[in-house]
Every structure is written in C-alpha cells, then in structure tokens.
Amino acid sequence: MTIELNFTINEKKITLKTEPNRRLLDILRQELNLTGTKEGCAIGECGACTVVMNGKAVNSCLVLAPQINGAEILTVEGLEKDQRLHFLQENFLKHGAVQCGFCTPGMLMSAYALLSKNPNPTEAEVKEAIAGNLCRCTGYKQIIDAILETEGDIK
C-alpha cells in the first residue's frame, strides 16, 4: 500500500508516493537524498534527526509519513540561501561549536526553531531548546554561545 503526500521541504513543494510506515527521516534521507539530517538512535533520544516542521523542532525519526501531509518542513540544507550560509551557521563556525559535526544539523534546527519564535532567548531558554540534542564530543558551551549571538530576526 502506498499513500500520496503533498508537503513543502526547504520552500519547495513536493508530491510523492510512499509507504505509510515510512518515517519522515527515511523520506528525507532515502527518497529525497537530504542526508544532512542524521540518524543516531531511531527512538527520539539523541536529536540528531531534528528538523523544523510547521515551525517546531521535531525528531524526524518519530514522525510517520502520513503526518507530514500538508506540512512545511525545513532541514539543515534549507538554511543556506543564495550560496551564503545562514548567520546561525556562521556563528557555529565562529564560536567553534562544531567538532565531529554529527549532532550539528540537529543542533542547528533546534536553535532555528527557538530563534524563529523567540528572537532574544535567555541562556536558560537556549539550553532548554537543545536539551534533546546530544553532543558527545564538543561540549555545549560553544553551541550556546553561537545561538545566543544569533539573536534578532533570523528569517
């Protein structure tokens, strides 16, 4: 059995047929070749697969295909515009908020969801926003600093 889905990814309208038991993560990585979104645990514990769906940060491993019908989805690949990195991405580089980089796309998307709603977050709000994103090698301080510097209208 397949279902037809209509949704928007990184401002591009998509129509595709897929099986209803597919996860959003599978659709991104396998059907759309958007491998910037990572898989670290498959049960919503590590946050490596975080994307922004309808303005909220979600674990794409916990979203089933039918749930994305009509949704607007932003992945890490959608942050860069006109071959220029988003200043959230630039701040990650400036502050050294990247090491192995495997958690980075998820961190960026959690941060983006926060900043879209709350352009001037406190440090406590930043921490809460990335509390579901595990980093195993860099530590979190540089990531917090990078997000805090990216205040203001991020769109």
Partner: protein
C-alpha cells in the same frame, strides 16, 4: 631530498607500548622556539571542514549510498553464554527481498579476537555475539528476516562479574578466566620498609563502572567489490588498521583493499580496528555481487563494539607526618568482557606521585559480556579516581592541604622508566588552576558547608603519554599557481586534523590557508599514517607536515637559484616570494618557480622525526571542580570546572577548546551518570539505548568551564613541539568531582557513578 634512516621506534598507544621499525629523517628540523612569533599556528582558526558540517553537505560513512546497494543486519546471541546446535535459515531465505544469509555453516573459519574465536563461532560468549548476517533489499526486510532464522541454542552457565569470574567455581569462558593467566605486576623499592617508615597508613577500596563509548554516529561500513578489489567506507579511527584487518580476514592482498573515511561521528577508542560487521558485509557483497551497507543500531553498539572495563581497586598508601609518601600498593581487577582487552588501571598510580616503594597488581578478567575496547585514556580514568581519592584522604588525615600534599610528592622524573621528562610543567597547572578556581579563598574544611545545598571544591592530577612518534608521513603537492594539497594517511575524528595540517603547511610556505587543500582518510592515495588514538594524531602528523613543507621550501629555493642564477645561500624566502638578499630586483613568486620548472605539480613527502632518546614523554594536567550537592535529593550540580594542562604547543586554540570541553563533559558523565547495567539473573544488558544509558545533556553541564594551557611548546619532542589533548582533557575530571563532593558533604564516595541514591545512602545509610 633529505636523508633518512630506519630506527626501532617505541611509544605508548592506548593500552600499551607499540614497537615498530620506522623511517625517520636523519636530521630533525629545529623546533619552533618557545615563544616564537608564528603567524598561523597557535592562532584560533576556523575549521577547514566547517562549511561541510554546518551546511549538511558533509558525507559520513552512514550517508554513503551506492547504486544497487543492499542492506545488512546481524542476528546476535540472545544469551550470555551458549552453544549453537543448529541454525535453520530456510524460512528467512524465502522472505521476498532477502538476498543472502551467512552463518558459520557457509563461511570460512576466519580467526577473530587474537585467534581465540572466529568471525562466526559456534560458542557464543556474550549477549550480542554474532550468529548470522542477512543482506536484503532494505534494512527493514533484513530485520524481518532475522526473526525468521531459527537457532537452537544450548545455554551454558555464565558469569558477568569479574570478582566472581576469578573464583574457582565460576564457569570458564576460556581455559582460564584471567587474561594471559596472570596479572600485570610492577614493583620498585621495598614495600615492607616503606610502610614501616609511615606514620599514617590508609587502606580503601574504590570501584568504577563499565562505561560505553556511545558515539553519535553508529559503527557502520559500506563495501563495494570491483572484481577482486574491495572499497570500504568505514567510520573508523584507523584506515590502515582496518585495511590490514580486512585483507588478513579475507586472505587478499592489502593492495586490493581501499579504506576511505572522510568524516565520522566520534570514536573515543571504539573504532580503532576492523569490525566483524565490515567483514560480514564484504562476504555478503561478494556473494550477491552488489554493494552492501551495514550500520549497527544503538542496542548493538551497547552490546558488541566495546566498553571501558569496570574496576575494583584495593589501595593502600603510607605517608610520614610531614606528607612524604613512603609506600603505595594498588591491587585491582576489572572485566575485559569475553575476549582480550586490558582492564589494568594502575599506570597513573605508578608514576604521578613521588614514592620509592610501590607495588601494583592488575587482573583483567573474562566475563560473559561484550569485549572491552580502549575508551578515552584506558585505565587512567578509573585509576585516577581511586588514586586521587585516597591521596585526598591521606592529605586530610595528616592535616595537609590536598594541593600542598601533591606538591610535596611531586615526581621530578619518570620513576618507572627512570628517565627525565622532555617537559613537565605540572606545578604550573596546580598553581594556575588553583588560582582560577579560588582554591585558597573558597575551600572550607570537608563537610562544613552550611544548609541543605552544600558546596565543595576538589582537584585531581593528570598524566598521559600522547607524544606520538614515527612512522608517520605527509605528502605535499604544490600546484603551479602556488596553491597546495597535503595528503596524509591519518584521519580526522572531528578533532581538527584537517585544520591544523593546513595551518602547519601555511606557516612554513607562507601561503593563505584557503589555498591549502587537505586530503585524509584514504588508504588508496595517502602514505602511511597511524591510527588516531592515544592522543597521538597531532604529535605524530604535524611534524611530518612541517617536514614536507620545509622540504618544499628548500626545493623552491633551489629552483629559484637555478632560474635567477643566484646561489641558494643568497636567497631569502618571505611571503611565498624568493628574492636575492643582495639584489631585491631579483625575485620570483613560488608559482613562477613551479611554472618555470615546467612542472605542473611539485611533490615532497615529510616524515615524523624519531623521539629523543633517554627521555620519557608525558602530558600533565590538573583539574579543579566546584560542586553543589543537594542533601535532600542527592543530586550533584557542577558549578565550575577548571582544566589546567601541560600539552606542549597548541596548534589551534579553537579546536583545542572543543577537545577540552568535550573531554570534561564525558568526565562528568562518567562521574555522575554513565553506567552499563547488567541483569545478574539473565546475564543481559539492560542499558541498551540512550534513555537508559545516560549521556550528559546540556542540562548536566557546569555553568562554567575554564581551560588554561600552561605550556607553549615541548621542543625536545618534535619540530612542532606538540603533545596530544584528547585523553588528557578527560582523565582527571571524575576524580576532581569526587574530591569536590567529599569536600562538600564530608563523606567519601568510593563508587562511580555518584548517582543520587549512592549519595543519599552514603549520607544517611
């Protein structure tokens, strides 16, 4: 071409000294002097791999996808100890989409675990031991097929605790349950005499838990055969080690195996060698004639691909009233898991404090659990916790400040090797770290903090090898436009290898960083580089890169001399322009030299120099922690961690800071929450996902981490003067936190992790 020779090289790598013949330059390039004005090296430099990682374009092994790629999943033993009586794959094979299934029945007996077992053994010695592997059109189908494989097991008695496994009555996992049948021992001086001289003798037992690496990127490989040639993309810390392991396992020439790793999501010691999964995927790919991807899930990672062995450390130390240590004894045992892996943890105990009379005994014990693998400073993290806890107790017992006690017993030379250190600046770590945490102002007597939230400060010392050594190579190619490519057989774990290699080359050739491309992690194109472990990557590779760049500079000057008809000695090299000292009109840019030599590319290969003879190379450090302990809930909160270290020259403060923060936070995890828990009734592991196995989140991190580097260079080691950082950053954190907790509550925590239940139990019984 600079002249070379072959020497016997020996340096410490993870769990032991590695010895090999190594090609080295006859003459070492002089090290950059301490305090030398360098333009690029030592400056905060954004990562070369930065764009790829923030844009999402970085391709990890997990992201590799090839046309017609099939997917493999592994059937693993559900029992801690069992024999396979029969395997029936007929039902699984009929599942649509299943392509091939391999078991011990249809594969060669490939030796594994140092010849103690096979790729597929019929005796299974831990939950998670490999039974069969399925290739299918999708991962989902492969998983379904696993459930259709019928295996008849004969369950065997098991043992999952090292202390019990050492007893006569315990079920035997191998001929003996003790690794090599005997403990590792070390002794110096006269231990009886040492204790007789002591005014105070303390004896205590400390325990640490089994921890699991839990890298963010799963262990995974993608394999592809072109005829009899195999390409392997692997998430690995050692491309050459994986290449040789696979070639040996499959019985094919090493030249037929190419291992590639561009980016990886963490290793921490768990990805140093070829994995069974890679070889299984290669066998399946050969049979089905298609590329195969195999990726472990979180449960498999927590069962089968390594852990830090636990430890039970019985320590006894004696000191005079004036604080002089007179005797120290360490006796420990720890669980290797079902196959050889060192659980010894007495290395820091032997060397870091001055003591003439000292004995250590370490037993590594087989149990029915996943085999250990080096995990970020094997032995040192657990050993430092026990040692620095009892040292703190001794200081208190004789009424000395713990920091003064450590200074009193400062070891000026390496007591095991009886050799001087190339450099040791630990006393500066103590002084600067103490100042940063406010040691003398804030610290109160243990347990005297008022109220329900008690504050405390503690510290611990760090020693590690991390000097690296030869053989290690780097090839530099200079293009005719003056841009360069450096190719090295090392790999970047995310630690900044791409970036520092470019910095070193840019420093020597005085060309923009942006004009340097770095290619790592490909056995098909790179000269040999060692595995990235033991904090040796930067100390081993950076001098080879500098050597390659210096040779290139010499070559360019020689070329310019011929073109300008000016003797080499009368030419100067500045900002990538070579000019005659006496006639500034006579000059050439380096790209002009390459062009006029009519070569499109100039090539040099640099080597890591030999380590200096008669010296021991170690890194040192001290970490200080300030904590709050809530005695109602038993919860520990980190306020501040100060890390002061002697790690030679820092190549890039931006990436070095990453290493320190990451190492400290892993240390917090080990101190407070990370623990593999097994069920004694079933022998199964209960902590097989990231919900049960607790890794620190941002909420568990301290308000402040301050990193202080006391060293500027260690010029005796190499031309770059670098020591490694990865493991030093992590070693003393847990011990410092434990001592801070003692200072806060006045009760000694003897067991890690210090979970709230243990704190409450220690406080109220």
């Amino acid at each position: 071409m600079s002249s070379r020779k072959i020497i016997k090289s020996k340096y410490f790598f993870e769990e032991d000294f590695v010895e090999s013949l190594a090609e080295v330059p006859v003459e070492k390039t002089e090290a950059w002097a301490s305090g030398a004005e360098l333009k690029v090296v030592g400056k905060p430099t954004q990562r070369k791999d930065g764009y790829d990682k923030v844009s999402g374009s970085a391709q990890y092994t997990f992201d590799i996808s090839l046309p017609k790629m099939a997917f493999a999943k592994t059937l693993r033993s559900p029992h801690p100890h069992a024999r396979i009586l029969n395997i029936d794959v007929s039902k699984a094979k009929k599942l649509p989409g299943v392509l091939e299934i391999i078991t011990h029945q249809n594969t060669p007996k490939i030796p594994w675990y140092f010849g103690m077992s096979f790729l597929f053994d019929t005796t299974l010695r831990f939950e998670g031991d490999e039974v069969a592997c399925v290739a299918a059109e999708s991962e989902h189908i492969a998983e379904q097929a696993l459930q259709l494989i019928r295996v008849e097991y004969e369950e065997l008695p098991f043992t999952i605790e090292a202390g019990q496994a050492m007893s006569e009555a315990a079920p035997k996992i191998h001929d003996t349950n003790i690794l090599r049948g005997r403990p590792d021992t070390y002794e110096r001086g006269d231990i009886e005499k040492g204790f007789a001289e002591a005014d105070v003798v303390l004896e205590e037992t400390f325990t640490t838990q089994t921890a699991v690496h839990n890298t963010t990127e799963p262990h995974c490989s993608v394999v592809n055969w072109d005829g009899d040639r195999l390409t392997v993309w692997d998430s690995t810390q050692g491309i050459f080690s994986v290449r040789d392991g696979i070639a040996d396992s499959l019985g094919i020439p090493a030249s037929h195996v190419r291992v590639i790793k561009k980016y990886m999501g963490g290793g921490f010691g768990s990805k140093l060698a070829a994995g069974k999964y890679t070889v299984m995927a290669a066998l399946l790919a050969k049979k089905i004639g298609r590329p195969v991807k195999i990726a472990l899930d979180r449960k498999e990672m927590n069962l089968a691909v390594g852990n830090r062995p636990d430890s039970v450390q019985k320590l006894k130390i004696g000191a005079k009233k004036d604080g002089t240590l007179t005797a120290m004894v360490h006796e420990s045992y720890g669980a290797s898991g079902a196959y050889p892996s060192g659980a010894a943890c007495s290395w820091p105990f032997r060397t870091i404090y001055q003591c003439p009379n000292l004995n250590t005994i370490d037993y590594s014990v087989y149990i029915n659990a996943g085999p250990g693998r080096p995990m970020r400073a094997p032995g040192h993290v657990q050993g430092t916790f026990g040692m620095d806890s009892i040292i703190d107790d001794m200081a208190e017992k004789i009424g000395m400040d713990p920091l003064e006690f450590r200074l009193k017993n400062y070891a000026e030379i390496d007591q095991v090797g009886n050799a001087p250190y190339t450099s040791k600046r630990l006393h500066e770590c103590y002084q600067q770290g103490a100042a940063a945490i406010g040691w003398y102002q804030k610290r109160r007597p243990a347990g005297s903090s008022p109220g329900k939230i008690k504050k405390g400060i503690g510290m611990a010392s760090q020693i590690w090898w991390g000097g690296g050594g030869p053989p290690a190579y780097a090839t530099l190619k200079l293009n005719r436009d003056g841009s360069a490519t450096v190719i090295a057989g090392t790999q970047d774990l995310g630690t900044g290898t791409y970036t520092f290699i470019a910095q070193v080359a840019a420093e020597v050739l005085e060309i923009p960083l942006d004009n340097i491309n770095v290619i790592l992690g490909d056995t098909g194109v790179a000269p040999y580089g060692p595995s990235s472990g033991g904090s040796t990557t930067a100390p081993s590779i950076s001098p080879a890169v500098r050597d390659a760049a210096e040779q290139m500079k010499t070559k360019l000057i020689s070329g310019a001399a011929a073109i300008l008809e000016v003797p080499e000695r009368e030419l100067s090299y500045r900002n990538a322009v070579i000019s005659a000292i006496t006639d500034s009109e006579k000059k050439l840019g380096i790209s002009d030299v390459v062009r006029q030599m009519r070569e499109r590319v100039l090539v040099t290969t640099g080597l890591r120099n030999a380590n200096p003879e008669g010296y021991t190379i170690n890194s040192f450090g001290a970490q200080f922690a300030e904590v709050e302990v809530d005695i109602d809930t038993g919860k520990i909160r980190l306020l501040k961690v100060v890390a002061a270290h002697d790690v030679g020259r820092i190549l890039n403060p931006l990436t070095s800071d990453n290493q320190f923060h990451g190492g400290i936070i892993q240390g917090i995890g080990f101190a407070l929450m990370e623990e593999r828990i097994m069920d004694p009734m079933t022998g199964k592991t209960l902590t097989t996902n990231l919900h049960n196995y607790k890794v620190p989140t941002v909420m568990d991190t301290p308000t402040e981490i301050e990193v202080i580097i006391v060293s500027d260079s260690d010029p005796l080691i190499s031309n770059t003067g670098v020591k490694g950082i990865g493991e030093p950053a992590h070693i003393p954190t847990a011990a410092a936190i434990a001592n801070a907790v003692y200072n806060a509550i006045g009760v000694r925590m003897k067991s890690l992790p210090m979970t709230p239940d243990k704190i409450l139990h220690a406080l109220f019984g």
